[in-house]
């Protein structure tokens, strides 16, 4: 090992072994439990992972060259990866409880054009991380100075640039977010899976005797005898809903604790997490498609949620918590200012909405009609003539169709294309022309019958925002004209990673 080469922190062994074992540990425990294996024997199963961890640790070295970060891995199968400093746009960090206790962090080197981090350093000490940050920043600033040819007078003090906080979520907001988001079912699902593995549901098993389930059943029956079954069912259902929401709140508060979105010098920095702290930085020019969601619950509290696709180094495979949104919860009246901050070239005031074909409401209604006919047939067959009550949903369906068409629209401003849809579950998406990759016009057989067409706008990195810009129910001529308008503007802009 040469003088300037560095190794990972020795504690890496612990983390690498743990993460390799984590995948199999649930199965191992269950197998061990049922086969009555003594616990020490189960520990032996971890030894191969430890050996692999040692080998990986010995083989991993990184160096700071003049222009790039060089990472060498492997003993038998050697790999040398050169990452130019100018390409590194983020050093994301993950720190769970153990990391923080031991004062280390897992570092992900993220560059453009790729969903996986270019390199994952598991783990570095906090000092080594700071050194890496400093070195990269130094080289990047040197390159920037050389490019812009500033004379020596102004030193590059990029150390601690002022960060402007765009959004901070205190506990109150996180609770609200948890209620709206309803991730409780995740926890319930996981708990039920665990309970199944632990044989709580079966009553034949010697070990556990299905005790938990039996006592629960007895308790519910006792209450039912006193209060009457329908009330019990209703109460149980409501209790379940409340518990699920509470779980969601807990999950959110822990996972997104201290959420802060800050902006420095064209870069957005996100920090969050209570047990596992995560940090990530996104250069603003990497935002591709921005989407604003407003569900009925959001509207109740006058909030919205803002998400964005980013291209390159998408840190979407976190442990446990999902990738945070740009703004998981934002006050509705702050939306305009917020969007202006993250996408300065885009002006919401310029938007002039153009709607779909007016006949679209009839078309949407016809689909509901068909569904209603099928549903009514089924319910009449099952419940007799009372099933015909399902037809009472028809006026609602008509209302739904009209409202949907009213809230559907697209707009082309000088810098971006906008699309909105939905009247209950509202969604607004936009992307600058420079970020559009391809356009398509499609007509299904139904489209052809109605003389309509739909236009899709394709952008990069489409993982975060599930809503693509898909402008439907346009008259065919309008759709073709839209394609031409978009194509003209896209050709006039260049795409920059």
């Amino acid at each position: 090992m040469t003088r300037s080469e560095r190794r990972l922190h020795p504690l890496s062994l612990v983390f690498v072994t743990l993460s390799s074992v984590r995948g199999v540990i649930a199965s191992v425990i269950v197998i061990g439990w049922t086969v009555r294996l003594p616990y020490p024997a189960m520990l032996l199963l971890g030894i191969p992972y430890l050996i692999v961890g040692v080998i990986r640790y010995m083989a991993f070295r990184y160096t700071f060259d003049d222009e790039e970060l060089v990472i060498r891995t492997g003993i038998l199968f050697r790999n040398e990866r050169h990452i130019p400093y100018s390409r590194i746009h983020n050093l994301g960090t993950v720190q769970n409880l153990l990391h923080r206790f031991l004062r280390v962090a897992e570092v992900r080197v993220e560059t453009a054009g790729g969903h996986e981090p270019e390199a994952r350093l598991r783990v570095l000490s906090l000092g080594a991380l700071e050194e890496m940050r400093r070195t990269i920043r130094l080289h990047r600033d040197a390159a920037k100075i050389a490019r812009e040819q500033i004379d020596e007078g102004a030193p590059a003090t990029a150390e601690e640039t002022r960060e402007k906080t765009l959004l901070h979520l205190p506990l109150r907001e996180l609770v609200l977010h948890g209620i709206i988001r309803n991730r409780g079912m995740l926890v319930v699902g996981a708990a039920m899976g665990l309970a199944w593995e632990m044989r709580w549901f079966s009553s034949d098993d010697e070990l556990t005797d299905g005790n938990f389930w039996r006592s629960l059943r007895d308790m519910v029956q006792g209450l039912g005898d006193r209060m009457g079954p329908p009330i019990i069912i209703l109460a149980a259902f409501l209790a379940f809903l409340v518990i699920v929401r509470l779980l969601s709140v807990g999950w959110t508060v822990v996972g997104l604790h201290g959420f802060t979105l800050g902006k420095t010098e064209g870069e957005l920095r996100i920090r969050y997490g209570l047990l596992t702290r995560q940090t990530t930085a996104i250069p603003q020019h990497r935002l591709q498609l921005v989407s604003v969601r407003e569900h009925p619950l959001h509207r109740l509290f006058r909030r919205v949620e803002v998400r964005a696709d980013t291209a390159g180094g998408n840190p979407s495979e976190q442990s446990g918590t999902s990738h945070p949104r740009l703004a998981p919860l934002l006050r509705h009246d702050h939306l305009g200012a917020f969007l202006r901050e993250i996408q300065p070239e885009i002006d919401l005031d310029e938007v002039r909405w153009e709607g779909p074909d007016p006949r679209a409401s009839r078309r949407i209604f016809r689909i509901s009609l068909l569904a209603a006919l099928i549903g009514t047939t089924v319910s009449v067959l099952s419940f007799g003539l009372w099933g015909a009550l399902a037809l009472a949903a028809m006026p609602l369906a008509w209302l739904n169709a009209r409202r949907q068409v009213h809230w559907m629209g697209h707009a082309l401003t000088s810098t971006a294309v906008f699309y909105r849809r939905g009247w209950l579950w509202r969604n607004l998406s936009f992307t600058p022309y420079g970020k559009i990759q391809a356009l398509s016009l499609s007509r299904s057989p139904f489209d052809r019958r109605w003389g309509m067409a739909s236009v899709r706008v394709d952008t990069a990195g489409g993982h975060e925002v599930e809503e693509r810009i898909h402008v439907r129910y346009l008259p065919e001529s309008t759709a073709r004209a839209l394609m031409v308008r978009l194509a003209d503007r896209v050709s006039a802009t260049t795409f920059r990673w």
Binding site: R443, R448, D458, A487
Partner: protein, 200 residues
């Protein structure tokens, strides 16, 4: 934009060749065999693509026929079937085979009629689809890279597939099969000239 596509095979003999000056995309001089596909007119792919697709369809039909025949024989000998149903099995099998076979013969020509491409100074477009019709337009300055590939059957017919890669998600790869190998290479060359003008 919706005129009948002209076949890509007949060279328009008197068409003047635009000579590239300045920012407009360079044209190449057409020799007698290969016309200039970059003239913004919609063109269909080679007719031999239909034959090739039919052969592929025939292979699939034969495989399914054989497989289902084997399955049928096994079912016949293991599962008890009433005697009145015995003639139904081979009849059903024949029906499936004929349907598949007919489909394999008819569908490729339908597809061919609706498959076309267009290359103009601004973008590269592919039109496809019989029932669900789609037109994908990739602006030339958004093309990341291109592949020209040939499977064994394609090599036999001197055809190739041109795949345009973009940075998008739903249209990360836009494929155009059935091109003559030479024309595919030409198109790729023309599109590649664009690269020099764009910042990466």
């Amino acid at each position: 934009m919706d005129e009948e596509p002209t076949s890509g095979e007949t060279p328009p003999a008197d068409t003047p060749v635009p000579v590239a000056v300045g920012p407009s995309p360079p044209a190449f001089s057409p020799d007698n065999d290969h016309p200039n596909p970059a003239d913004g007119r919609e063109r269909s792919v080679d007719a031999r693509h239909v034959t090739m697709s039919r052969i592929v369809g025939a292979i699939v039909t034969a495989t399914v026929a054989l497989g289902s025949l084997v399955a049928l024989v096994i079912v016949f000998f293991t599962v008890p079937i009433a005697p009145w149903a015995w003639p139904l099995l081979p009849l059903g099998w024949l029906l499936v085979c004929f349907t598949l076979g007919w489909f394999s013969y008819v569908w490729p020509s339908l597809e061919h009629r609706h498959l076309a491409f267009r290359l103009d100074p601004q973008s590269f477009e592919v039109r496809s689809g019989v029932l669900w019709r789609k037109r994908i337009a990739v602006p030339r300055n958004r093309i990341q890279h291109m592949d020209v590939s040939q499977g064994p059957l394609e090599r036999h017919f001197d055809l190739a597939t041109l795949a345009i890669h973009t940075a998008g998600t739903s249209h990360a790869e836009v494929r155009l099969p059935g091109l003559t190998h030479a024309i595919a290479l030409r198109i790729r060359d023309v599109l590649a000239q664009q690269d020099e003008d764009d910042a990466v």
